[in-house]
């Protein structure tokens, strides 16, 4: 028997994949103010510049950050769209609970068992 973490659903969003890593989430947080370039960002983490650069590239591909030129500098900026992530996540939870409530409703109807319950429900449709 396999005991493991179930992998993501088929329509898994690259945004969530990018955010599944702690360092990348931290980069997204830091880049909200768009004050630092990749080099400055890299100084916060106990890893090589190249490794941080890779994380930044993943985030960039997912559309979570962009690199922006401010004067002579290139800073990393969190895409405001990314701030909509929370809303999208809540949307997914909504779907989860809607499915649960559908199952509850079915169960309640079954348990009631009475024909008139079914009729009441159907007359409302």
């Amino acid at each position: 028997m396999v005991v493991s973490v179930q992998i993501a659903p088929p329509d898994f969003d690259p945004v969530f994949a990018a955010l599944a890593d702690h360092t990348r989430r931290d980069i997204v947080r830091r880049a909200i103010n768009a004050e630092e370039g990749v080099l400055e960002l890299a100084s916060h983490y106990p890893m090589s510049f190249a490794a941080v650069q890779k994380h930044v590239a993943v985030l960039e591909r997912a559309g979570l950050i962009t690199k922006q030129r401010i004067g002579r500098r290139r800073v990393v900026r969190t895409n405001p769209e990314a701030l909509l992530v929370a809303r999208r996540l809540l949307d997914q939870y909504e779907g989860l609970w809607r499915a649960r409530i559908d199952r509850m409703n079915q169960l309640v109807a079954e348990t009631a068992g009475a024909i008139d319950t079914v009729e009441t429900k159907e007359s409302k449709r």
Partner: protein, 167 residues
């Protein structure tokens, strides 16, 4: 449909879902209070839930696992904070390791359930879920335990269609 209201507050990381049922307060309460009923709706058909412990009292603990199509068994637990049968439950839900100990790597969210009569034989249930952080939501969803969602929805549609035919 049964769901009557959904409120999302991305700032407070809160989701509120309200639903109304043609059923008594007591029968909706039983969906939570009876573990055999609970396991019929908590997980989707592809991830049926089994509740191994169900102490729905203040300070009590509820433990469960779900079984996925590949035999994977994500475990979960609730720490029950407040209970007022048949109207109110407040609990913290988290993930557990296979031995039942809390998985501290995974986030905990707070769920508040309210059940009230709105008319004779008509009951409203409200569920408020508060997440500690966006990361927590991401993490839980990335786990996929919750729960091959699109798959679940299509299976439910199938069940509902069957039900209609039976009628």
């Amino acid at each position: 449909m049964t769901v009557t209201a959904v409120r999302k507050d991305p700032q407070r990381l809160t989701l509120i879902v309200e639903a109304e049922f043609d059923a008594s307060v007591e029968s909706i309460w039983q969906l939570w209070a009876d573990p055999r009923k609970l396991e019929r709706w908590w997980g989707p058909p592809t991830y049926p839930a089994t509740f191994t412990k169900h102490d729905l009292t203040p300070g009590g603990r509820v433990e469960s696992y779900m079984t996925g199509p590949a035999g994977d068994q994500p475990h979960g637990y609730w720490d029950v904070l407040e209970v007022e049968p048949p109207r109110r439950i407040l609990f913290r839900a988290g993930f557990a390791n296979a031995d039942g100990t809390p998985n501290t790597e995974m986030p905990i969210n707070t769920i508040r359930v309210g059940i009230e009569e709105v008319a004779q034989g008509r009951t409203r249930m409200s569920i408020e879920i508060v997440f500690p952080s966006t990361e927590a939501m991401e993490q839980v969803l990335a786990m996929g335990t919750e729960e091959g969602l699109s798959q679940a929805v299509s299976q439910i549609d199938a069940i509902l269609a069957e039900e209609t035919i039976q009628r």
